[in-house]
Structure formats: structure tokens, C-alpha cells
């Protein structure tokens, strides 16, 4: 009978196929670590310091491990005066850092392109803890790598909520992926009220231009771009239309040259050809640094970790194949110009790019308090000092902030309160500002912006916009 025939036909299935299938039933999906949950925060700074270590040869690629875990973190509420913030220190095992190494001209959306299936759509709602943007998170399984190297077999992907649709209706996806941050990128789970870390989290920031091919879905044949301008897909010769639409072709707007109605294989081969002809750094490497603790960098990290009266925030970014770690000192939550930059290259060499030490621990303990001043500012009583005919203007925004400054390590330390206005007249927006220097003994004096470089040195918080000059008009979409 047919059932028996079918049953016995499977006896002839290849052993390697059976081995693979048997193996797939033996590896369990790891369960979430059950950790204590933390409450919702009002404002936060995320301090995520990952230390990269391990000495591996460049060609020795270890397994890329997919993880999704609740992040164990220490929550440090910080409240001074009327200013509240919560610092979140995430601790996580961080053996490898993974990121795509695009060239400097294009941190390209298409440098890693995969054909993928949905393994799982996480049911909860997520937001990016920095931008607040809502996302869905999907676990994709990679069926084929169209462009790129050392690509993981699975990855998490965040899809903007506004672009979500019923993804289950589609067979296959072709996605140009870019890693979000580095390993264990934290996303806020709105449903559960907790932070969760995702290793190997990707996105394609070209989704708004998904008609350009960054995220396409197949149902038998190429037919859907998940794009806001869906009609573009249906055009004959849409590739030319898309290229015209974005004007001069730019590497960071990848336009894949395929046609509506193309088969999956046709799309894949066209993308491969396109990437070959437009090389842009396709490697996704495991980035490890040998000799990380060389004499110079080890002392830097010792210093960073030893500082008691301040804290360093870290920014990590790639440029031209190198990894930059940029540390900025914050005292009492206010930025200082003290920064340290380490440059780590793929060959395992680490060097100190910048080491601008301006504040000792004793200095940090004696800087003037800024928060109480900010808390008691009476904005209604302060008039923008440089705007002519101020009575004709309306206040569009008023923003007060503080920072610490020092010209060099021998000069006087100051706290600086900066108030900045956007003022509107007939929809035209002008800027005005006011700076208050606060000395160590608490004395305050208002200073003109032009005087500041002589007193506190060059500082990126001091912005030299012209007074009484309209910079933009409202509703033009230009943002400050």
C-alpha cells in the first residue's frame, strides 16, 4: 500500500541528510535566563562597555553564537535637584565582537545580503532604548549568503513597526543586513518591561527605501518590496526608475538591478553580479584583538576603571577597518572635554589615539554643582540677550544644559550653563544663547560666547551660530 511504499522510500534517504535532521532535534533553543525585572525608566544613559579579548589568528573564525537574553543590569537612579536620570549598567559575557567591516565610503546596506527564512517572530513589542523607535524582532535563518563572508546561520533582525506586515505569507526574503551596534545590543521589551540583549542583531536602515532592494519578500517570485512606494515595484524597468528617483547613484542607496516577476534565483544572481561590479567590503569578521592589554592600552583601561568621582561613557565605531573606542568623562552626569580614544586594528594592534586627561580625581570631587542651578533657572525671567526686536518673536524652544570645561589641566575649572533659544518670527527660526560660567567656589558670571574659547578652550558644546539670522522656516522638515 502507498503508506508502506512511502515509509520504505525514506529508507533510501541519504545518511548525511538524516544525520543533519537528527542533529537538529538535539540542540535545544536556550531558555531565557530568569532574572529580576526592572521598572520602566524616565530617562537613561546606557553605559555598555564590552571588553574584547582573546588572541585568535585572523583567519581562524570561531562559531558565531546566537543569543537572546534578559540583560542583568544594575540600575543606578540618579537624581540631583530637578534632574532625574537612570544609569543602566549592563553586564554580559562578551567574548567576541562582531560587525561588518564596510569600507569608509559605504557602511553599506548591501555588503552582507542573505536569503533568509523566518524562524520566529518574537511576540513582544520592542523599542530602541535610545531612539524610542518601535520595532518587531524576528529571528531569521540564513538559507544562502548572496554577498558577504563569515555570515552567521541565524540572526536576529529588527524591523520597524511602521513597516511590519504579515510576513508569514511570504516564502523567502532577501535582505541586505547591517549589524546594530555590536554584540548584545539592548532592546527594551515594552510588553515585559525589561531590557533584553540580542547578539547578532541586524537591521537594514534602507527600509524606507526598500524599493531599492534592501528588504524584499518572495512568494514564488519576486513581488514585494515592503516599501512605502509599493507601486514602484510594479514598474517595468523599475531599476532605472529607482536610480532616477534617487538621483545620482550613491553607494549608500543600493539599488538592486532586478525586475518585477524575476525568480528568486534570477534576483540572487543579479545581486551577486551587482556586488561583484561594485565591491565595497563584504566581510563580516569576528573582530578580536590580540595583545589587547599592551602596556599603553592596559594602563588606559586601568585608569578608566579606577576613576571614582566620575564615569566614562563609551562609544564604539568602525572607520576604515579599524575599531575606535571613544571614552568621555562625565562628572555628576555632565559631560567634560576629557576624552580618550583607542584605535584597534584588525591585525591585533591597539594604540592610543587621544588621551586628554584634564581632571584628576581630586578635581572631579571639587567641581561646582550644576544641577541645583539648572533646577532653579527661571526661564521666564531670562531674556534672549542677542536678538533684536525680541518682542516680535515667539519662543519656539528653550533648552538649558550644563557641562564642565577646562582649557588645560593647569587652568581653572568651570561649570558652564548654556541656555539656547529657538525664536520664531513669521515662521522663520533664529537662534540665541546665553552662557553662565560657574566657578569652583560657586560664583556665577554671564559671559559672551566669543570669550569662551579663551577661558575654557575649544568646546563642541559652544556653537557659533549667527544671531538674528533665520536658519530655517517651520514646516520645512529641517531639524536642528
Amino acid at each position: 500500500m502507498k503508506k508502506a511504499l512511502l515509509f520504505h522510500a525514506f529508507d533510501y534517504v541519504r545518511d548525511d541528510f538524516l544525520e543533519s535532521a537528527a542533529g537538529s532535534m538535539e540542540v535545544s533553543v536556550r531558555e531565557n535566563i530568569n532574572l529580576k525585572q526592572f521598572g520602566i525608566i524616565a530617562a537613561c544613559l546606557l553605559l555598555a562597555i564590552g571588553i574584547v579579548f582573546g588572541a585568535m589568528a585572523q583567519n581562524d573564525t570561531p562559531e558565531l553564537i546566537l543569543e537572546h537574553r534578559i540583560l542583568e543590569k544594575a540600575e543606578r537612579p540618579w537624581s540631583v535637584g530637578g534632574w532625574n536620570a537612570t544609569f543602566h549598567d549592563f553586564t554580559f559575557g562578551n567574548i567576541y565582537e562582531h560587525f561588518d567591516c564596510g569600507s569608509s565610503i559605504a557602511l553599506s546596506r548591501w555588503t552582507i545580503t542573505v536569503e533568509a527564512d523566518i524562524a520566529e517572530i518574537l511576540p513582544d513589542a520592542y523599542t530602541d532604548p535610545v531612539s524610542g523607535m518601535p520595532y518587531r524582532i524576528i529571528r531569521f535563518y540564513v538559507n544562502d549568503v548572496i554577498a558577504g563572508e563569515n555570515v552567521p546561520t541565524e540572526f536576529y533582525f529588527r524591523l520597524e513597526e511602521s513597516l511590519s506586515c504579515e510576513l508569514e505569507q511570504f516564502d523567502r526574503f532577501i535582505i541586505g543586513i547591517k549589524q546594530v551596534g555590536v554584540e548584545n545590543y539592548p532592546m527594551y521589551n515594552e510588553t515585559q518591561g525589561q531590557f533584553e540583549g540580542f547578539s547578532l542583531l541586524f537591521e537594514t536602515s534602507n527600509l524606507r527605501g526598500a524599493e531599492y532592494g534592501a528588504f524584499i519578500a518572495f512568494d514564488g517570485e519576486f513581488d514585494h518590496g515592503l516599501a512605502m512606494t509599493d507601486a514602484l515595484w510594479k514598474l517595468d524597468g523599475w531599476y532605472d526608475a529607482s536610480t532616477d528617483y534617487i538621483g545620482e547613484f550613491r553607494h549608500d542607496y543600493a539599488v538592486y538591478p532586478f525586475e518585477n516577476g524575476d525568480s528568486l534565483n534570477a534576483v540572487k544572481s543579479k545581486i551577486k553580479k551587482f556586488v561583484r561590479e561594485n565591491p565595497c567590503g563584504t566581510n563580516m569578521r569576528v573582530y578580536t584583538v590580540a595583545d589587547f592589554h599592551n602596556e599603553r592600552t592596559a594602563s588606559i583601561f586601568d585608569y578608566i576603571n579606577s576613576v571614582e568621582n566620575g564615569i566614562f561613557t563609551q562609544k564604539m565605531y568602525r572607520f576604515d577597518g579599524d575599531l575606535y573606542l571613544h571614552y568621555t568623562l562625565y562628572i555628576n552626569g555632565f559631560e567634560t572635554p576629557q576624552n580618550i580614544e583607542l584605535v584597534l586594528n584588525e591585525h591585533g594592534n591597539a594604540k592610543v589615539g587621544t588621551n586628554r586627561k584634564l581632571f584628576t580625581d581630586e578635581d572631579m570631587a571639587s567641581v561646582p554643582e550644576l544641577a541645583p542651578i539648572l533646577e532653579t533657572l527661571d526661564f521666564d525671567a531670562i531674556t534672549p540677550p542677542h536678538t533684536e526686536n525680541i518682542e516680535d518673536f515667539e519662543v519656539y524652544s528653550c533648552h538649558a544644559s550644563g557641562f564642565y570645561a577646562r582649557k588645560n589641566k593647569y587652568s581653572e575649572m568651570f561649570g558652564v550653563i548654556k541656555i539656547r533659544w529657538q525664536l520664531v518670527e513669521n515662521n522663520a527660526v533664529c537662534y540665541d544663547d546665553l552662557y553662565i560660567l560657574v566657578s569652583v567656589d560657586g560664583t556665577q558670571q554671564t559671559v559672551e560666547r566669543d570669550q569662551l574659547p579663551n577661558i575654557i578652550g575649544e568646546n563642541s558644546n559652544v556653537v557659533f551660530r549667527e544671531y538674528n539670522k533665520p536658519y530655517y522656516t517651520l514646516n520645512s522638515g529641517v531639524d536642528d
Partner: protein, 210 residues
């Protein structure tokens, strides 16, 4: 002045996904024991693959006693066929033996009347992809179909192939497959449905006739 503690990092290797591995005897050594007619071959096989074979039998028979009996028969049959057979992949080899024994037992006992077993649920849905054929069940026809299956499976992405075989060879339930692969049941169901359609199209395209 508020003292702000510094950040610390720890390494948590336990939370990495673990790949199953064993500390059992190497397959080649087990096969050598069979060849040398050393009965430790059976102990070693049972230690290493007993659970695996039991799971295969249990998926078909849904009866622990019958399944255990099948597994024991597997060692006996293996003892009798090695040598002269020298399997390249011992696990697959043992699994096939267990599977056949379990199926024979399934047909021989009252299992068929029970219905609703994994084998019924799975194969009843897959049968529809087969072309019209005589009801004759010959080894030759099974081999032909098996070879066509291999060609079809070779074209599938790995994960799809794994799930297909977990369902129709190993006869795991959809919920078991979904749980092990970290997927929703609905997704597994849809995936299998699409794969079956592809198989049907494939067999039709190949003009597959039995």
C-alpha cells in the same frame, strides 16, 4: 558628591548555546568491535544510540515496551549484519534498522487500528503528493521513490530539509519539532505544507511514475 560606581563586565560562558556532543565511544571503534565479534559493541551502541533508537521506535509505536523491544532487536540485527556490512554512518544505520523493525511491528500488531499515531498523521498527509500508482509495494519502487526524494531533498535549504525529515522520517510531532527548533507550531506547519507542495511539483515535473 555622588559616587558613581564603575562598570564591570563578567563572562558568562554557561549561557552560550551548547552543541550536543558526547563522551561515548567513537563510531569506528564500535564498528570494529562488531567486526571482531566483541559483545562490547552492543553495550557501546546502546550507550551511545539507545535513546536515539528508542525515540524513533516510540514515534511509530507509541508504546514503551514495544519500543524497547524494537531497540533490543536493533542490536541483534546489527550484530547479524556487521560484518559484512560496514556502515559509514552508524547512527543513521541503526536508526534505519529500528525504524524498519518498528514499522513491521506497527503493521503486525493492532497499532494500525488505533490510528492517530505519528506515523498515520504524518504519512497520511504526505501520501497525497505521490503520483497515481499501483498499490503494489515493491522494494524496487521504494528505491525509485527514495532516490527521487534524495534529489528533491538535495535542493532544499538545510533547515527545511531537516524539518521535513524530522516530520516524515523520524515522525516527530509538529509541536516537538517546533519546540526543538524554537519556532511556532504554525510556522512549522506552514513550512511543511510548502515543502510538500514543492515535492509534489517536483515529482510531477520529473514525470515520476511508479
Amino acid at each position: 558628591m555622588v559616587r558613581i560606581p564603575t562598570f564591570s563586565v563578567y563572562i558568562d560562558e554557561e549561557s552560550s548555546r551548547k552543541v550536543k556532543g558526547g563522551s561515548h565511544m567513537d563510531d569506528s571503534k564500535i564498528i570494529t568491535l562488531y567486526r571482531e565479534r566483541d559483545e562490547r559493541a552492543i553495550t557501546a551502541s546502546a550507550e551511545k544510540y539507545g535513546a536515539y533508537c528508542f525515540a524513533i521506535a516510540q514515534n511509530i509505536l507509541k508504546n514503551s515496551e514495544d519500543s524497547e523491544e524494537c531497540v533490543n532487536d536493533t542490536w541483534l540485527k546489527t550484530w547479524n549484519v556487521i560484518p559484512p556490512q560496514m556502515p559509514r554512518c552508524l547512527r543513521a544505520f541503526l536508526g534505519k534498522i529500528t525504524r524498519c523493525l518498528a514499522f513491521d511491528k506497527y503493521r503486525a500488531t493492532t497499532c494500525e487500528k488505533r490510528g492517530g499515531t505519528n506515523i498515520d498523521e504524518a504519512l497520511d498527509t504526505l501520501i497525497e503528493v505521490l503520483p497515481e500508482t499501483s498499490d503494489a509495494e515493491s522494494e524496487y519502487e521504494a528505491k525509485l521513490l527514495g532516490e527521487a526524494l534524495n534529489r528533491f531533498l538535495a535542493e532544499l535549504p538545510k533547515r527545511e530539509r531537516d524539518i521535513f525529515l524530522c516530520r516524515y522520517y523520524f515522525l516527530y510531532s509538529i509541536s516537538e519539532i517546533a519546540k526543538k527548533h524554537g519556532m511556532r507550531e504554525n510556522y512549522v506547519r506552514n513550512l511543511l505544507s510548502r515543502t510538500k507542495k514543492k515535492l509534489k511539483t517536483y515529482l510531477e515535473k520529473e514525470d515520476f511514475v511508479l
